[in-house]
Subunit: 438 residues, 2 copies
């Protein structure tokens, strides 16, 4: 009921905002960019067709005069060939090799909050393993009364649940800590995705095995060649940690941990162990390789923060951006994504003058906890240079920091957990550059 | 906030239900289907590893001892080869040819509520056209003050919104009206999908063109060879009709109307005109071919009901089903999908005895208006024959009818709008058959 009201409200707010605009301002959409028919077309509905033809590309397109192809030409469909540029990309220099590396989600080309499975960023510690689901097993043992080994068939018999949640690498944007300025949104923020994950709550499985008194941590270990492993506090396991076998409706993709992975909603991606083969329950963390030599935050005083699991509140404008320049002055729909590992997004403000003044945006997607949230605002661009920023606030009241605020605490030696307010500089010619404002 | 509470409630209800189960009953999961470690394994956490190895397939899998493949091996990823059976299927005999035909969504293999783009059912009236987005135009004319012709770039400048909504062919399940019993869930209910759709509210565009007094209907026309067209009442256009250019985050798929289509949430799929090229505003419906010779409901007295747009409340059990037989007695997670073109699903009950007694299920996904909703309930199967049914109730109070109730009003000559309670017969050997109970 409340969700219905929420969406009704969204729809009404958009309609209402439109109504408030005076005619001439609204018609800027037409004047600046759209092909408006002349007075002849407006005079009568019937005359409209003829007038409109003048605005059409010459000739009647072939596809309106012929039969197309039949059903199940692609039993598993693919994107239009006109959209072949929308793909995951990597950076050759970022890691020593392509086996233990990362690829980036093409955020500039995506809409809404769901990331299609074929475009979810990749992160491997020993490459993508080809796991046979019939041979794969998940063992749960340690401080439990009834240790078990589960086949995938076994796992499917437990109650399941589906949640739409973001997934983000702790290193998302990490290249910018020391001032590097990547020239694509895909590279500045693309270690990020959001899917509907389906599986069994870890709490359900813990109930099955019977957790013993004193148990406080869980080791999650992957079946890949790196045996990627992380220590997870029991509180998270009993909250919303999910043993996942499906994403966006279908079985997990190989690069996302097929046939089964852990998802800790809102936590750094490396804790969401893929190709999950083992959960060991214990009374303290294991301090394995990936939580000591990696995935700790180097502070200005030389110490390292450990177990910084939560991906704090963050946001970015996805249109315009370097991949989506502005095509001449006029009205545009400026939009972006906000997310917080602590819950729902409460508000997103946008600045067009580098943070001097701010306008509150509208939400244009479902607003779910620990999920990407889409925001948007109309902007009438006069053709002058502009500095675009977004600033998100989550339901805990946390406000996304500036680079200055973030570096005052964290210094510049970190790799992980960069969530500073990001700036796009719009040039006079409509091109967009990545700049840093502290 | 309310959505957070809703999901928290979901999670807690699952946990709570588990807690209430006495130990022995809960452990049926183990006794019947799972591989429980012996007392030695249970005695100590450390001993668990050795004991568990006995339950593992022989040998250490190759993928745990080697490096896998690198990033962007597939810049646009694909499903695991182990899941190649999950695909759209068609019925050769259903239509005169494959050009103007339909394919079905593999519902038995899907989880959650999102249908991945590659598996959304297809319906063509003149085949799948290859539309060039750079040449495509959308014209809005008729009883308007400012007729316009929009390029895709133009359309992208308007405020956008994203909504997760189901899409269903009016003929979904139509083969069963006269008693045919298809042997797959994919064929009984697979003209159904649910996506996050992104685009511009039709009401936003109508405001742009200025609708004239007396306007009451809108003709939507496609650019394919059939020039598929339907008359849409103005009320729907001003409510939630959406001009869509993206599905599940990425550009519309070719078979879903690339580059732009109409979505009338909750209404029969054929009104959601694909490859949309024209919207004409008028004062009465056009009575085009697809709303006279097709897409009307033949009633028992020989008359035809016209403009029956809404897809009424419906549901089906997706596990078990003919494609998902039961593997021996024991506990199972029985789940399915419910949906209503009038709003949210309020309740879904499941019967295991052909409708004599009912159990209320839990929702295990987000509950959104005019979207698929996932329900589930635990079932301890004793190995005896059983008749499984699901019965959905929507927020208007409408209760999904039995075949008897539906046929009393509609007869058996219809093709469209079949939403009767569906029955799966579970045989002693765990196989599942489609039967009809009136």
């Amino acid at each position: 009921m409340s969700k219905q009201q929420e969406l009704d409200g969204l729809i009404k707010s958009i309609a209402a905002a439109g109504e408030k605009l005076p005619g001439p301002e609204r018609r800027l959409f037409l004047k600046q960019g759209l092909t408006m028919l002349g007075a002849a077309g407006a005079a009568s509905g019937a005359a409209g067709i003829g007038a409109a033809e003048a605005a059409l590309p010459p000739g009647v397109p072939s596809w309106t005069k012929s039969l197309g192809t039949g059903v199940v030409t692609n039993p598993y469909g693919e994107p239009s060939p006109f959209e072949a540029h929308i793909k995951r990309r990597n950076l050759e220099w970022l890691t020593a090799d392509k086996i233990a590396s990362i690829s980036f989600t093409p955020l500039a080309d995506l809409k809404g909050i769901i990331t299609p499975n074929g475009l979810v960023f990749e992160r491997y510690h020993a490459g993508l393993p080809a796991v046979d689901p019939g041979l794969h097993r998940l063992m749960i043992h340690g401080m439990v009364d009834r240790p078990i080994v589960l086949s995938m068939d076994d796992l499917m018999r437990f109650p399941s649940i589906s949640m739409t949640r973001f997934l983000e690498c702790a290193a998302n944007g990490g290249m910018e800590w020391r001032g590097a300025q990547m020239d694509r949104l895909q590279l500045t923020h693309g270690m990020l995705a959001c899917c509907e994950w389906t599986g069994v709550l870890l709490s359900t499985l813990l109930q099955e095995v019977g957790v013993q008194k004193g148990a406080a941590w869980i080791l999650a270990e992957g079946a890949d060649g790196s045996h990627m492993s992380r220590s997870i506090p029991m509180d998270k396991a009993l909250d919303d940690a999910l043993i996942v076998y499906a994403q966006n409706g279908e079985p997990l993709r190989p690069e996302q941990g097929y046939p089964v992975r852990l998802i800790n909603p809102g936590w750094e991606g490396n804790t969401c162990v893929k190709w999950l083969r083992r959960l060991k329950i214990g009374d303290k963390p294991w301090y394995h390789r990936e939580e000591t030599s990696k995935y700790t935050d180097l502070m200005p005083d030389g110490s390292s923060r450990e177990f910084t699991f939560v991906q704090e509140c963050n946001s970015v404008i996805t249109n315009p951006c370097p991949e989506n320049p502005l095509k001449g002055p006029g009205k545009f729909w400026v939009e972006g994504l906000a997310w917080s590992g602590r819950g729902k997004i409460k508000q997103v403000d946008v600045s067009f003058d580098g943070g001097v003044s701010w306008r509150t945006t509208r939400f244009t997607s479902a607003v779910l906890p620990r999920a990407l949230t889409r925001f948007g605002v109309e902007w009438d661009w006069n053709g002058a240079q502009a500095l675009l920023q977004s600033r998100a606030i989550d339901e805990t009241g946390y406000v996304q920091p500036t680079y200055g605020q973030l570096r005052a605490v964290r210094g510049t030696s970190s790799i992980y957990h960069k969530n500073a307010i990001h700036t796009w500089k719009v040039n006079n010619n409509g091109s967009v550059a990545n700049v840093q404002i502290s």
